[in-house]
Symmetry: C2
Subunit: 334 residues, 2 copies
Amino acid sequence: MSSKVFVSAQEVAERAGVSRSAVSRTFTPGASVSASTRKRVLEAAEELGYHVNHLARGLMRNESGIVCLIISDVATPYRSALLRELTQQLQNAGKIAMLINTDRSDGSVDRALQQAIRYRADASVILSGHPDKSITQLCLRNGQRLVLINRDDDQLGPLKINLDDDESGGRIATAFVRAGCRKLAFANSEAGTPSLMGRERGFLAMAAELGMNVIVERYGWTGYEAGKVLAQRMLTRSDRPDAVFCATDLLACGFMDAARHQFGLSIPEQLCIAGFDDIEQASWSSYNLTTFAQPVSQIAAHTVEWLSRPQEDAGEHSIKLKAELVWRSSIRGG
Amino acid sequence: MSSKVFVSAQEVAERAGVSRSAVSRTFTPGASVSASTRKRVLEAAEELGYHVNHLARGLMRNESGIVCLIISDVATPYRSALLRELTQQLQNAGKIAMLINTDRSDGSVDRALQQAIRYRADASVILSGHPDKSITQLCLRNGQRLVLINRDDDQLGPLKINLDDDESGGRIATAFVRAGCRKLAFANSEAGTPSLMGRERGFLAMAAELGMNVIVERYGWTGYEAGKVLAQRMLTRSDRPDAVFCATDLLACGFMDAARHQFGLSIPEQLCIAGFDDIEQASWSSYNLTTFAQPVSQIAAHTVEWLSRPQEDAGEHSIKLKAELVWRSSIRGG
DNA sequence: TTGTAAGCGTTATCAG
DNA sequence: CTGATAACGCTTACAA
């Protein structure tokens, strides 16, 4: 039993000698209160330490101000950067973020979405995993907005934000051959998400166009350790690649470390590497990785903008963003 | 105007042909409902897509299930790792995390705490910054629990979790002299938080005890770039150190990169380095940094345990945790 | 501009 | 075990 001691509008009203509606109006932007009562209310509120109860307000207004962020692997550089942007910009827009961690188990995202419903979140932003269609339908039916970031495109969640992964893959293939590389490779994880596969697809397509074969290996999740394993596999091959596009920066870092410290290769002289995400570590001088920058700030901005629209302007919408190529020194020339 | 369409207990009750209290009881663990009504209710709920409204429940029970996490620099490796643990364990305990980002501006934490009050969070966990005493008092008076992690000890927030920073500093000083180092240094940021200063203090004290002087430099915030600058400053000195304890791993990474790539020093042969936090990058083979592991999992576990206690057992409490020394190869010997 | 009164979706209390 | 009824703290017609 927790000690109920929060100050209510009632108490403030009594102290200020006004009605409780006057108090309510004082804290409702755009409501009509005279300057004098407003002042009296504000003083009383200050003295008592009153703060509007958003739970109750949400109940009445049918709008909680809560946005639910559904994400896995928060401790990963790219994910946490996205999280930072999102929470920050949400806050600036007067909303508040709820964070739900998912794992790779079945139904994990669905359970998260149910929590979002229970707390009557105004919206859910899905940054990981793939929710079941039935539950996204439930959200939408309940008037909860849905944002899918770098997720499958076939979902009918109103706002979908994706990158031009295919094109990025193509650009890197071009850069590699321009740098004089002869044996191209793509290092991917087994996660098989649409964005990862898009990069692979685009890379392969452009390489084919340029008349080059590509070695493809897939292993583990998109982490540093997986990158090392992939390097192990690829660099011991008889047809060893001289240019590797890694599906994420984390993979690239692991790949580079293995290439240098275990195989004694120098980058970019003997091996060109590219990554994707532009995590902070990509700019560290041990890596200096040429990579594509996830437009995290834009992603967050689009999300918040769409969430701030009035209901009627917030229909299904798909946004394609461009990942900027950041040239560093893991590819020759440039 | 959002389209109010959430299903209510009322509707479920009608469909199931029972009273709304029966519905409520069905979703309240430990309430007494007959198996048959329970089944009827559950079916109706399933068909209608009903989910308990936690806003309303929180209003009645005076307990929202919300725990507010107040944090800055979420995109930083150590911070995001702590966040992951906390949200995960909170979830497992049936609670939900709200995330509020703070910056270094005045009153940032205080504003966050006010949000926590507005949403009637059961507790707030402060991982960054230093709230004003008046506002923490307000929280406590309102029955909101407070957890301070690696914060000032003089706050009277009920649960305080801290590390033995002093001792860690001492252990590293010992390790350095044991490795045969002669010129010790401490690289710190200007943030001046208690934990950072504790590490410095402990390091200096033990060094003095061992009859050694220590060069101390402080610069910027605790990031990679600051580490590079600190290296610049320290390694150009006439009395160049041969062992540097960096207040955080991020500083250490920057320091190492500058030492190696700009000054051509080899680690640990010419320069020994130690860090603090044991971020993921510390284990990457470009760094192999000897460092202290933040017991993030323990921190989260203690927090959640304390938050799950009944009110009367959750009095002021201070926990001191030990940071485990992780030996890698940035210090000779070992 | 102000106050009164109804209602949001719950849960707790109390008869039956 | 079940159902009515009264809160919880707020917003919002509606009337004054």
